[in-house]
Symmetry: C2
DNA sequence: GGTAGTTACGAATTTCGTAACAATC
DNA sequence: GATTGTTACGAAATTCGTAACTACC
């Protein structure tokens, strides 16, 4: 499983449509279709039903969607938190030793 | 950023040593070293100090570590939850219609 | 016939491992 | 000189896009 697969999955779930998800992700449809299938293979259960109108979430897909969104948010937050910690360290170095607390 | 990078990062942080992390991950040292550097580049701040004794976490690295562990756990749980939902659906189909609630 | 998803296949990208290098004790 | 992390470079694996295919209305 990869973060790209999770990202592709969320896009398809939200669009209900592989083609529109692909447009949103700036990739071709087959790339999305393949990654969704690979994700279903790895999890071991289908996440969507394929209908002539598009992709519809199955119960496992609904369960996965909530957690997938949370994972993507957590990844962003982890990076931002580390960046912030790095910026603090650099500004502290740049500012030199503090004169005092008062 | 990829899940592999997060996994590599946690291994290095826990081992304090690229070589031991690589052994634990069943890959060669350079693969780990490169992914750690790529992660630091993407985040935009160093996560470790390189010492002759190994790798030591910097403040941004400590911040990132907690969240990285949580992300890996969340990925596992997401897959397990979807699997469980799929198994329930299949057993319900296999069992046929319920006779009643009592 | 038009829309939607999926395979097939070759190309581009990414990741990897071996070997050589740099730095510290 | 022994240990540790990092580059260099070619090989392996993954991912991608175009084109062709299948299924349903």
């Amino acid at each position: 499983m990869s973060l790209s697969q999770i990202q592709y999955f969320v896009a398809v779930a939200e669009e209900g449509h592989v083609g529109r998800a692909a447009q949103r992700l700036y990739v071709a449809q087959p790339a999305v279709s393949r990654q969704i299938r690979a994700l279903e293979d790895e999890i071991g259960t289908p996440l969507f039903t394929r209908t002539p109108r598009g992709m519809q979430l199955l119960p496992p897909g609904r369960v996965f969607l909530d957690r997938a969104r949370a994972i993507l948010v957590a990844v962003e937050e982890a990076a931002n938190a580390a960046r912030a910690a790095g910026a603090v360290a650099r500004s502290a170095v740049g500012a030199g030793p503090p004169k005092s607390t008062g």
